[in-house]
Each structure stands twice: as C-alpha cells, then as structure tokens.
C-alpha cells in the first residue's frame, strides 16, 4: 500500500472517523477492565491465604494445661500416635491380627481379629503408641491401618498432687479431681490455650507429701492427709493424701478394684470424713467467747467426770483443781469444754456450727467432697460430745476452713483450689468477732507453748494450734488402739497467714514418743517440720532470734576491712 491510500483513509468521510473512534474507545475500555481485573486478582489473592495460615499457626488445643500458682506445669499434653483401622481395606483379618499381635504383644489376637473383620470404617487398635511401636507397625505394611496424631494428657510431677488433679480417660475427658470439676473450662476453645492456674504451690505440695510420707514411715501409720491453707484468701496451697497413685496411669476401674487400689484413689483430705477430736475445741471455745457465756478467765470445775445417761465424759489427764478457760484449752479438757458447750446451748451451738460450715460439704472445686456425718438428734449428750469433736464427722478441708475462721479475724472463707487474681475481693462470712479471734490466737499459741502441741513449734516461726486425738469408730464402739491423730496449726502465731493441717490414720507409738501415738507426739511434730520447710519458701518473715556476736563475726568484719 502506498502513502496516498493511507492518507485517503485518514481523510475519509467524518462519520467513518467517528465510528472508528467509538469502536477504539470500546476496545480501550474493555482492555482497561480486563487489565484492571487481572491486576486486582494478582494483588487480592494474598488476603485469604494469610487468614488460612494464621489458623495453622495456632493449632487448636484440645485441653488446656493446668499450672500451679507460680506457673509450673501440673498437667499438660504431649502428642502421641494412635493406631486405628479402616477394616473395609483389610484383606485378611486373621493374618493381619496375628502380625499385629506379634508387634504389639499386649493385644489379644482373637479380639483383634474380631475388630478387624467388623467391617467398620473406623476401629481403634491402640492409642498412644511409642515411636518404636509406630515404626514396627509401619514396617508390617498392612493396608487399612493408619495412625492419627493425638494429644495425651501427662502429669510430669507423677504422684505429686495426684488426688486434687485427678486424671482423664482415653478420650481426654476429666473423670476425677479438678480435671473433672473444671472439665468444661479446660476444654473451652475460647480460652485459646491459656492454662488454668491453681492455688497450689508445687513446692509446698511436695514438702507436705514428703513429710507425710516420712510420718507414715516413722509412726507406721495406715494413711495420712495434709492441707496448707492461706487463711486470708481461702486458697489451698497444698493438699495431699497418702497413699496415692500415679495419674499418668491410674488404671482404675471403680467396679473392679481391690482394697489397696481403692485406698490409693481415696482423697482423705476432702472426701474422707473423720471425727476430728479436740481440734473442735478451738471452735467451741471461740463460740463460747463470742456468745459471751465465758471470758478467758472464767473457771470450770473439771475434777469429776460428767455422767449423763449411759455416757461418761473423762479427761485424758484429770486435773485436781478448777481450770480457767485458758487452761481448759491448754490442757485440752473434755469436761471443761463440755461444760462450756452446755452454757452455749444446743441451738446457739448449731447456729455457730452452721456458720463455721460444718453442716454442708466443703464448697471446693472437687467432685470428691465428703458430706459430713451429723448427729441425728441434738440432745445434751450431742451438745457435749460435738464440742470436743466426737459424734460428728467432717472432712479435713471443712475443718481447715472452720479453723481458719477462728484464727483469721473471725471470717469464714470458702476454701478454693483456684488462684485468686490479684486485687479481687474475697467473699467472707463473719462467724465470730475480731476480738474473739485475737483472744483465740493467744490461746492457740498457749496450747503450743504450755499445752499439748509443744512439738509443733519451730524456732523463728511460732506456731499456734490444737492437737486432736480421736479413737476410730469400729463397729458400734470405739477402738482405743486405733487413733486418728491430727494437728491444726497456724503461723506466724499471733498474726497468722497460713494454716497447716496434718491428720494421721492409726499412727503407732515409737521409742522416741515413749509409745504414745497421740497427736502431740505424732501429728504435731510433723506439722512443725512442714512449717519449718514452707515458712522460708512462702517468704514468711521469721521472728528475730537474738544474734550472738561471736568472734567469728568480728573476724569476718575485720577481714573484709583489709
């Protein structure tokens, strides 16, 4: 084509040029749209994929960890491989079963064959395979077998705190302890894997278990339990029951367990109910003072045993002169306390007992909470016997909470296993007045310095507390030989912060205790040992012990001078 023809086109009639221009514009618009859309797609594609990745980054946690008050792990999860079969793809169930049983000898061949020939699309073969078992199953190369990654609950501290933590079943559902009571919280996906913080201090828990174990050994006791409580917040710092079990492998079938296993699974600190004995005198004395029926200097004649109906109330070591309320408490006089209870009267006594939380199971976050065994009729005999802890059986945690109310300024605080967040209020219920509580602290201290609890005292950490020795109810009567010895102590005595409860089941006297198995010789020294170990751990400031400036100190000072 020549230049002329081109010029001809360009100089054609005006309507042709307009048509061309319109067509051109359409083309341009179309290209612009397509180009823009392509560009948009290229840029926009990133957005949804980022969302997908962020989901991948935080895997959904099936069950939150449980940690102690200092953030140390009490229960966590580890990944394990779980073997299952899609039986529709199994060619020869018999052969497959034999091969599998060879690699996993704990499985039963007959049962395995039944499972493999069931025709089900999903059948568990074995949960939590070890890596070695996994490798050998893979090596078999049986079609239809597959593994699934699962979370297995582990308790790295083993036996420690086993009763309060509880355990889970194969499907990771809690079936005992806080695992059961906090099951929905632990499985709540909204928490986003945030651990549940308990009030327990793992170190305190260990000390408690360690000292209980050595007490069981020393005094050949059947069992023991202990509680450490913060009396101003109700937080349980330690709760132990021995003998115990390993929550990693409880292997517990309640319908088919022997006596020994049952004893191990039993939480004596919360589920067991006991006649606590003389520790109840702290509550009785506090209510007598609060009701205004006595002052600490009132006296009672305790020379003669009380005879009422067919009952006789004796004292362990009868006194030959009238005793003041202080002395009754120091010497742990049953007669004196019974007189005091009669002055309080049955109805007021019951009101106070209710305020102390004695009539209802302890409101603690555990499924295993023992309901108190209460007297059926509340006559004079009952009024007298319950005043020193007989004829009424309550759980140790119930007693600990009531005792805390006596010592902490007169307030009942429901015990809890969950750490209280800093700055939150503590719900309280006034039981006795602040003055009475202050008087009781003095009495509790005197029961240690002058009375039966002397062996609970620790230099630097003065303990105030009360012993309790009760005979075990066997059949219709009481067995003098089998005792429940307990001690409840608070420290530092006059401005207490912590409570330690120790209860020993059937301790035996030893040579050092001159054959005595009573609380003053068994539970009291155990409490003392616990206090001396947890005092420094909990940062309790010891009372100053006068320092002797020895030559050594002088020399040290002189040396640092050079």
């Amino acid at each position: 084509m020549s230049r002329t023809s081109r010029r001809d086109k360009g100089e054609g009639p005006p309507f042709v040029r307009i048509r061309l221009a319109i067509a051109g514009l359409f083309m341009l618009a179309a290209y612009a749209v397509i180009g823009g859309r392509l560009l948009w797609l290229a840029i926009d594609e990133e957005t949804p994929s980022r969302e997908r990745v962020s989901q991948l980054e935080v895997p959904v946690l099936e069950r939150a960890d449980i940690v102690d008050r200092n953030g140390r792990i009490l229960a966590t999860n580890v990944p394990v491989d779980a073997l299952y079969a899609d039986t529709r793809h199994i060619w020869d169930p018999k052969e497959a079963a034999q091969e599998l049983a060879r690699v996993l000898p704990e499985l039963d061949v007959v049962e395995l064959e039944q499972k493999l020939s069931s025709g089900a699309a999903f059948e568990w073969i074995k949960r939590d395979l070890t890596p070695r078992q996994y490798a050998s199953v893979r090596a078999l190369g049986i079609a239809g077998l597959a593994v699934k990654r699962e979370q297995r609950r582990v308790y790295p501290n083993g036996h420690s705190a086993a009763h309060l933590l509880g355990y889970v079943n194969l499907d990771n559902r809690g079936i005992a302890g806080v695992e059961a009571s906090l099951d929905t919280t632990l499985r709540d996906p909204k928490r986003g894997g945030e651990p549940v913080t308990l009030s327990i201090d793992l170190r305190v828990q260990h000390v408690l278990e360690d000292e209980l174990a050595s007490a069981i050994e020393t005094f050949s006791a059947e069992a023991a339990a202990g509680i450490v409580l913060d009396i101003h917040t109700g937080e349980v710092l330690g709760m132990a029951s021995l003998p115990d079990f390993d929550p990693n492998a409880p292997n517990y079938d309640p319908n088919n367990a022997d006596e020994d296993t049952k004893a191990r699974m039993f939480n004596r600190a919360s589920l067991g109910v006991y006649e606590m004995g003389s520790t109840f005198k702290a509550m009785t004395t506090a209510m007598a003072l609060d009701a205004g029926v006595v002052t600490i200097n009132s006296t009672y004649d305790v020379r003669k045993p009380i005879r009422i109906g067919r009952f006789t109330i004796h004292d362990y070591k009868p006194k030959t002169h009238p005793l003041t309320v202080t002395e009754i408490f120091e010497y742990s006089s049953n007669i004196g306390t019974a007189h005091m209870a009669m002055d309080i009267g049955a109805s007021r006594q019951q009101i106070y007992f209710d305020l102390f939380g004695m009539f209802k199971p302890a409101p603690i976050e555990l499924p295993e909470v023992g309901a108190p065994l209460l007297p059926q009729k509340w006559g004079d005999v009952t009024t007298m016997t319950v005043s020193y802890g007989h004829g009424i059986a309550v759980s140790p945690i119930q007693t600990a909470a009531a005792f805390a109310a006596v010592a902490n300024g007169g307030l009942y605080i429901a015990p809890t296993l969950l750490k209280r967040p800093a700055g939150t209020g503590v719900p309280v219920r006034r039981v006795v007045s602040e003055n009475v509580s202050a008087e009781m602290r003095t009495l509790l201290r005197r029961a240690v310095t002058e009375g039966t609890g002397g062996q609970a005292d620790v230099p630097g950490y003065p303990v105030g507390g009360k012993t309790g020795t009760a005979e075990k109810a066997v059949g219709g009567g009481y067995d003098e030989k089998s005792l429940i010895s307990s001690f409840i102590g608070v420290f530092p005595a006059l401005s207490p912060r912590y409570l330690v409860l120790i209860i020993l089941d059937e301790p035996q006297g030893t040579e050092e205790t001159h054959g005595y198995a009573t609380a003053g010789w068994t539970a009291a020294p155990t409490t003392g040992k616990v206090v001396s170990r947890i005092g420094p751990l909990l940062g309790v400031r010891p009372e100053p012990i006068p320092l002797e400036v020895t030559d050594g100190a002088t020399q040290m000072a002189a040396q640092s001078d050079r």
Partner: protein, 125 residues
C-alpha cells in the same frame, strides 16, 4: 496512528500476561513455603510442649530433693540464718577505728530498708 496504538496494546497485553503469570507463580511458591513453615511451626510447638513436659519432669521437687541429698547436701534455710539488716554488727560498732562513711557496708541499712538477709547453709560432710 492506529497501528502504533495496536502495537502498544498488544505489547502491553503480553507484558501484563507475563507479569501476571510470574506473580501467580511466585504467590504459589510463597504459599507452599508458608504452608511448609506453618507445619514446621506446628512441629516446633509440639516439640516445645514435649520439652516443657520433660523439663517439668526433670525439675520436679521430689527429684531435685533426691539429687540434692545425693550430691549437694544443701539444707533448708532455718530462721536462725535470717537476720534483719539492723541486727548485723557493722564495722563502726565492731572496730571503731576503721570507720569510713564511704564504705558501702555502712550505707547498706538505708538502701536495703531493713530487708532480710538470707544466708544459705552448706552441710559439711
């Protein structure tokens, strides 16, 4: 004029096609890499969980106590080993001749505000 425009359009289309292909391809690569990294992170997190559990197992109080009894013989701090800082005799009291106000030991009571001194003991074999 039109021809030049057509040529430009064509080359632009080719350039966009090429660019788009390249970007899509890179995105796909990055996504694969991301998935890989995410699975690596998940694996690391699993490892961390296992290591945490193992660490807890290793530092559980019962084991530490046993190890201490076997190798160290450290004992519980007793109240007799703790003093309030005012109770500690300072050089001024012990040897009046060597007093000096610039000594850090003399200044300690104010600084520490009477906090407790903790002295750990070591059992002599």
């Amino acid at each position: 004029m039109i021809r030049v425009l057509n040529f430009l359009m064509l080359s632009l289309t080719i350039a966009i096609c090429f660019g788009l292909y390249k970007i899509t391809n890179e995105t796909r690569d990055l996504q694969a890499q991301l998935r890989h990294t995410a699975s690596e992170i998940a694996a690391e997190q699993e490892t961390i969980e296992v290591l945490n559990a193992e660490w807890t197992l290793l530092v559980r109080p019962a084991r530490l106590q046993e190890l201490n009894e076997r190798h160290l013989g450290l004992q519980t701090v007793s109240a007799t080993q703790m003093l309030s800082i005012e109770d500690i005799p300072f050089r001024d009291e012990v040897s009046p001749t060597s007093s000096s106000s610039s000594s850090p030991l003399v200044q300690a009571p104010e600084a520490a505000g009477g906090r407790l001194l903790t002295v750990s003991a070591r059992q002599t074999p």
